[in-house]
């Protein structure tokens, strides 16, 4: 008998009598867009990120332009902001991506209760990009901010693409004496621009 069969058989013998799956009757607090955006920014800042509610896309366009003018390797994946870096694809290797200083990626939704944004693989162009870049800039439509994770999972389809991530603020660690240090292995800073419509 294979290990698979052994395990499955042991479970069918040892498992308790069937227990019903509970209904997901939980609801977060209802919030309007403005309230949700405020809550999102507040939470994001409490976990080391930055958030800004803007009504003019040119603010981000200028941010991108300035970053490029400084001469660093800046990757833009959002066509609305300006020229997109076509060299970034799913196959690009870690060694080349390690040179990326700053990256601009659009998120699908944001979650007010924890400051996380959801990124599909297609939005990040390469799975490694949002992690390996030194600084990350996220653009998000403010009306796509949901109060809690329950609404978040209603909005996204986790299996639609090969990979997706809830990303909440910059990479961090407290493994040395519980002292919080921002910038462990992933991006050292996360800035989220919320576009008010």
């Amino acid at each position: 008998m294979s290990s698979r069969e052994k395990i499955l058989q042991a479970i069918s013998i040892n498992k308790p009598a069937f227990i019903e799956l509970p209904l997901m009757e939980i609801k977060g607090a209802g919030m309007d867009t403005n309230e949700a955006a405020k809550q999102f920014i507040k939470t994001l800042e409490s976990i080391g990120g930055k958030g800004l509610l803007i009504s003019d896309m040119n603010i981000v366009r200028n941010d991108l332009k300035q970053a490029r003018n400084r001469g660093d390797y800046v990757v833009n994946t959002i066509s609305l902001l300006g020229e997109v870096n076509k060299e970034i694809n799913t196959d690009m290797d870690a060694g080349s991506l390690a040179k990326v200083y700053k990256t601009y990626i659009e998120a699908t939704i944001g979650v007010a209760e924890n400051g996380a944004v959801w990124l599909y693989e297609s939005q990040m162009k390469n799975r490694l990009l949002p992690f390996i870049c030194e600084h990350l800039v996220i653009c998000l439509d403010a009306k796509n901010i949901v109060p809690t994770m329950h609404e978040a999972y209603q909005e996204i389809d986790v299996a639609k693409e090969g990979y997706g991530v809830f990303l909440a603020g910059p990479s961090k660690t407290a493994d040395i004496e519980q002292s919080l240090v921002i910038g462990a292995h992933g991006a050292r800073s996360v800035m989220v621009y919320l576009m008010a419509s």
Binding site: I11, K27, S46, I47, L128, G162, S171, K172, A184
Partner: protein, 454 residues
């Protein structure tokens, strides 16, 4: 092998360090409390999480089969391992078939449980732990002392010295920022050149055949997206039925663990990139046996947040290494006796049974009740020390016979008065080790009561 009490004695020999450990973990517990208070529906979430897990365990075989089918449809290769040895062999085979020499690993308590690292290094394969805390303890040839905070038993001076010796940081520079930056640079190189990445699994979704890995540092993602091959290792109990259930568990996990509203990265893996490989190893290693123990099966609901560690007065004052197992703390003390009753018979006794662990558990495992039940099982099966058993039987006999009880009281009081060195003695009386004996009263309460009742 040394038991919890003996190992703890070593840990508490350094009193300021013990105090630091105690206070630091209590601070983490307080952070958890303040995060929890911000979620009004917290208790509802715990109840829901508990019920989802109860349901899943009652249908685990079907969910595992559904998960396997959906994962395979996603292009993931699924392997099954009956025990730790088979788990290690499967991983070695994948490594050898692909001619891999360099492996990076993110935190997985399952691989600790299976002793994967020593097994692979024994085969000449370089395995680099990439979680900062795990890298620190790996350099020191120590196991992690805590499932969420692997290096919590160390001070920054220790880390500084370890890094100085292993990656050439400045001697005596104890700044956590400097040391973390040095590790970032050191590990970036390892990520970029790694050929294969091993991760654990926090949740595996039966409905979609995908899985979620949570980290704060981003090391799981740096590893898996850099390497060509990703192997994810999971115990059979990591299954949840649907993606929507992640909403419940991700709201509970980080808040319970560190007081964060969510981990920095909650990565959802469903398909390998084109031309790359993704493997899942599903491991039993005693879990089906635990499933068959009605009193202990719901320990399999654990999501490894370590809230029970941080709140436990015994863990905080004895340190993770005193538990001599991969998963320490209160939850470890109910999981490990299942694996090996003889080797872990001491662990259910490493508790005051105060119940704080059960109160903070996000999936409502009755941890302290199970600790108490294990004590009974272990005693019945003859795994407890003969001295303890004899003392308990003696006590039971004395308490059941009032005449003997009164005589023993009288003798005891007389001995404590006339020959105090017999009781005030750390060798004969372990109770005296950290305590003073009370003054012996002249008469018992009973004598006093009879004399004064009129």
């Amino acid at each position: 092998m040394k038991d919890h009490a003996t190992l703890s004695e070593k840990f508490i020999a350094d009193e300021p360090r013990t105090d630091w450990h105690d206070e630091t973990l209590w601070l983490v517990r307080q952070k958890r409390d303040s995060a929890v208070r911000r979620v009004p529906e917290w208790e509802q979430l715990r109840e829901l999480a508990s019920q989802i897990k109860d349901h899943t365990l009652s249908n685990l075989d079907n969910y595992l089969m559904a998960f396997e089918k959906n994962a395979q449809a996603n292009g993931i290769k699924v392997h099954w391992a009956a025990d730790g040895a088979e788990h290690n062999e499967i991983i070695l085979r994948i490594i050898q078939e692909n001619n891999v020499r360099r492996v990076v690993k993110s935190k997985s308590m399952l691989t600790e449980e299976c002793h994967l690292n020593p097994f692979l290094t024994g085969q000449g394969i370089e395995v680099v732990d990439t979680d900062l805390g795990e890298r620190i303890v790996q350099f020191r040839n120590e196991p992690p002392s805590h499932i969420v905070l692997p290096a919590i038993h160390l001070k920054k001076q220790d880390v500084s010295q370890t890094f100085h010796e292993n990656i050439g940081t400045e001697e005596g520079n104890n700044d956590p920022r400097y040391l973390t930056e040095a590790a970032r640079i050191h590990l970036r190189d390892k990520f970029i050149h790694s050929q294969l990445a091993i991760t654990g699994v926090n949740f595996a979704i039966a409905e979609t055949g995908g899985f979620v890995v949570c980290t704060n540092e981003g090391n799981a993602d740096m590893g898996t997206h850099s390497a060509d091959i990703h192997i994810a290792c999971m115990g059979i109990e990591k299954i949840i039925p649907k993606a929507e259930h992640l909403g419940v568990f991700l709201r509970l996990l980080a808040r319970s663990a560190t007081g964060q509203p969510i981990t920095t990265y909650s990565s959802h893996f469903h398909k390998p990139r084109i031309g790359r490989q993704m493997h899942i190893v599903i491991v039993d290693n005693g879990r089906t046996k635990q499933l068959g123990r009605p009193d202990f099966r719901n320990s399999l609901k654990c999501i490894r947040c370590a809230a029970c560690f941080n709140t436990c007065p015994v863990f905080r004052r004895s340190g993770g290494h005193s538990y001599h197992t991969a998963v320490a703390g209160p939850i470890g003390s109910i999981l490990n006796p299942n694996q090996d009753m003889r080797a872990n018979a001491d662990l259910p006794f490493a508790s005051t049974l105060c119940g704080s662990c059960s109160n903070v558990c996000p999936v409502k495992i009755d941890i302290h009740v199970q600790l108490w039940k294990w004590r009974q099982v272990l005693t019945e099966e003859g795994y407890t020390a003969t001295g303890k058993k004899a003392a308990m039987n003696g006590m039971a006999y004395v308490l059941a016979h009032p005449t003997i009880y009164r005589l023993a009281g009288k003798v005891g009081r007389w001995v404590m008065r006339v020959f105090p060195f017999i009781t005030n003695n750390k060798i004969f009386n372990p109770w005296y080790k950290q305590r003073e004996m009370p003054a012996a009263p002249k008469q018992s309460f009973r004598d006093w009561y009879i004399k004064n009742k009129k």
